[in-house]
């Protein structure tokens, strides 16, 4: 698959299959195209797929709108979660949950049921109630934002998650909460693509497969040991192999 952003080709032929229940780690240098790949999967309109296809549970993702992809069970934890002034977290989540229910042909949740679920899921990621009354991500600290992403994941129960540098900027405790929260939410079917620069996240979320993306292509694929080697030695040896 090839993709461009702002007319510039970023992904230059990526071929990737993720099976149910699998965790794939995606590593690579800055600007290699990791975020582009995740944005393309979720359908950010700023990115254009010029060649290839993306199939999710037999559905052609590229033919679907962003929200339809979300309803299908795709969730992205944003690298930089967006602030939406004036829209409270509660109302935001209610809109998201009920939109998905509607897409699945279910009745919208009653207010009391919804708030009950909110309460349960909040505990999972140890997120404070007071954040729920604030506007989406407004005035949240870096750690709170990342926890809030996992909280939203809990609410929306996706089957495929993209964690785009969810660990960056988190201290050890926050990392543990976020990663353990993710693990608790996982089911046997949940698959994920974890984008990270660091092994420490992968200590918690153990990948089945590790890919290295450089200059818009997956240049190396291996097991968990590949991530360890990159942590210790960087990417130069891979580049040397390619040269």
């Amino acid at each position: 698959m090839h993709a461009t952003v702002g007319g510039k080709e970023i992904l230059k032929g990526v071929d990737l299959t993720i099976k149910d229940g699998e965790i794939h780690a995606l590593m690579g240098t800055n600007g290699a195209g990791k975020s582009t790949l995740s944005n393309v999967i979720v359908g950010n309109p700023a990115y254009e797929v010029t060649e290839g296809s993306i199939t999710f549970n037999g559905q052609d993702l590229l033919a679907m709108k962003t929200e339809e992809r979300a309803h299908a069970g795709i969730f992205m934890s944003f690298q930089a979660p967006i602030e939406i002034p004036g829209v409270s977290m509660t109302n935001f989540m209610r809109a998201a949950v009920n939109a998905r229910r509607q897409a699945l042909g279910k009745e919208p949740l009653k207010s009391t049921d919804f708030l009950k679920i909110m309460r349960e899921k909040r505990k999972l990621v140890e997120i404070d109630q007071k954040l729920m009354n604030r506007s989406v991500n407004e005035g949240f600290s870096g750690g709170e934002r990342k926890r809030n992403e996992i909280f939203q994941m809990a609410m929306l129960e996706p089957t495929f998650c993209i964690l785009d540098e969810t660990d960056s900027g988190l201290d050890v405790d926050a990392l543990r909460i976020v990663a353990e929260g993710f693990n608790k939410l996982r089911t046997e079917e949940t698959s994920a693509m974890v984008i990270t620069h660091y092994q420490r996240l992968l200590d918690y979320i153990k990948p089945d497969v590790v890919h290295v993306l450089i200059d818009g292509k997956i240049v190396k694929t291996g097991g968990p040991e590949l991530a360890l080697k990159i942590e210790n030695e960087g990417f130069d040896w891979i580049k040397a192999e390619l040269a």
């Binding site: 359908g43 709108k65 929200e67 967006i82 509660t90 809109a95 998201a96």
Partner: protein, 481 residues
């Protein structure tokens, strides 16, 4: 962006649920405007001579004036002779001693969500319902009068409380204030009168509901609120009209007098018929609203949510005469299709240590034009005046316009005046974030717009806030208790 356009169209057009007409016997006087017509209006209302003279003076002045052209709106040529200046839907029962309200009228107001039977009323709200030129009913009058509060139609006030009316009518907006004020002063029909006596906190929200029904009539309502020393009142105003192909003229005046240490909150949800998608029909909403903060420590707060009308020309203003007086203006104006709004406020600081705040949010879509126009004036003796203005515009679609025209005239070296404004389109990142969470673009726009307008919506009393949120099409926030 086409989807978001559709959203706003939904707000402004599809959701115009109030476009029906009421089939009720209405006495309408012949079209046209001249001194005889004014005499007839005055006579029908049984007015004293001074009021007839007031009307005639205003009319004679109006004749010498030209319709103003300075707004950023394309006001059509109005044929003032093609309008009927008096329509009375209650005429049928006029003769009987105790006026019975036509059940059709009751039904109409029920349909609009304004029950006129007190037992059905929204909690804590008294209503004066005005259709065309006549007040249909005022609820809770007796209960309010126990506290000495007068809440009735202005026609009734002229009869029952002539001294108060004579003292204050035209004292805030003089008949010669502007073209449309002169017209209103000449032909005004009905509206509400509120008097809050000294040291009284009005125990309920007072509300007037305006409805234009009859064809080819103009509505020229007149509202006068007097809040005496140490008192408080919150007043709400709602407006709807049937869908008609021709423009309907609405030229109102609202006058508010606020004495020492008293406070008035005035909220409007304006949803006059905006015309169809091609810009045909709709209400021409040409309104002069002004509050005179005469007393020390007096407070006035204007909150408006403007979604209707083909053309809106309206600047609810505050004259901060009393020392330490405070004024606020909060506005959300949504325009779509061919709507044009030129709205804002005037803050005239005359007393010492006066403060004013202006928060304006414009949302333009379709082919509409949405302008903020405001004046902040600090006169020579208004030491220590402060004003903060913030005017934001949101653009949905590439064929609309959003404009900001603030005027500041500062004649005092101890004043602190700040104005800021931004104009931008709806944030694509926010839309994308909502989409990723499974929220459709249409709903996401609704959420974002409502968040954007929140500062203003929050200023409205609860029942109105809900209505306003619905108008801004946020299904979720409306259902949260």
């Amino acid at each position: 962006m086409s989807e978001s356009n559709e959203f706003v169209r939904n707000v402004a057009e599809k959701k115009y649920e109030f476009g029906f007409t009421t089939d009720v016997h209405t006495e309408i006087i012949d079209k046209g405007l001249n001194e005889d017509v004014i005499r007839i209006i005055s006579q029908k209302k049984g007015e004293p001579d001074w009021l007839l003279q007031f009307r005639l003076d205003a009319y004679r002045y109006w004749l010498t004036q030209q319709q103003p052209t300075w707004g950023h709106v394309t006001l059509p040529e109005i044929d003032y002779q093609a309008i009927s200046y008096y329509a009375d839907p209650t005429a049928k029962s006029k003769d009987s001693e105790k006026k019975e309200i036509d059940p059709e009228l009751m039904k109409t107001f029920d349909k609009l969500g304004i029950p006129l039977e007190e037992r059905l009323a929204l909690s804590g709200t008294a209503v004066d319902a005005v259709m065309d030129s006549v007040s249909v009913k005022t609820t809770f009058k007796e209960k309010l009068s126990e506290k000495g509060i007068i809440f009735c139609s202005i026609s009734e006030a002229v009869k029952e409380h002539p001294d108060l009316v004579k003292k204050y009518l035209g004292s805030v907006v003089p008949p010669k204030d502007n073209y449309f004020a002169a017209l209103n002063s000449a032909v005004f029909s009905d509206g509400s009168f509120v008097y809050i006596p000294k040291n009284t906190r009005c125990p309920m929200e007072l509300s007037t509901y305006f409805r234009i029904n009859a064809r080819n009539t103009g509505q020229f309502e007149r509202t006068l609120i007097v809040c005496d020393e140490g008192s408080y009142v919150s007043y709400l105003e709602g407006c709807t009209a049937p869908m008609r192909d021709e423009n309907q003229l609405h030229a109102a005046i609202v006058e508010i007098v606020i004495m020492d240490n008293s406070e008035v909150k005035y909220s409007t949800v304006q949803n006059w018929y905006p015309g169809d998608a091609e810009g045909k029909g709709g209400v021409l909403n040409l309104v002069t609203k002004r509050g005179d903060l005469r007393g020390v420590n007096s407070k006035l707060s204007w909150t408006q949510v403007e979604t209707g009308s083909a053309i809106t020309w309206k600047y609810p203003s505050c004259v901060l005469r009393g020392d330490n007086s405070q004024a606020e203006f909060y506005s959300v104006a949504v325009t779509n299709n061919h709507q044009e709004a030129d709205t804002g406020t005037k803050m005239i600081h005359m007393g010492k240590n006066t403060r004013s705040t202006i928060i304006s949010k414009g949302i333009s879509a379709g082919k509409s034009q949405n302008s903020y126009r405001g004046l902040v004036r600090v006169t020579k003796n208004a030491d220590g005046a402060r004003n903060y203005s913030s005017c934001d515009s949101l653009l949905l679609g590439s064929e609309c316009g959003a404009h900001t025209f603030p005027y500041m005239d500062i004649h005092n070296n101890t004043a602190t005046i700040e104005h800021e404004a931004t104009t931008s389109k709806i944030n694509e990142d926010q839309l994308m974030y909502c989409n990723q969470r499974g929220i459709s673009t249409e709903e996401a726009v609704g959420l974002i717009v409502n968040g954007y307008a929140k500062d203003v919506i929050n200023k409205l009393p609860m029942e109105f806030a809900v209505e306003a949120q619905k108008l801004l099409s946020v299904s979720l926030e409306g259902t949260v208790g």
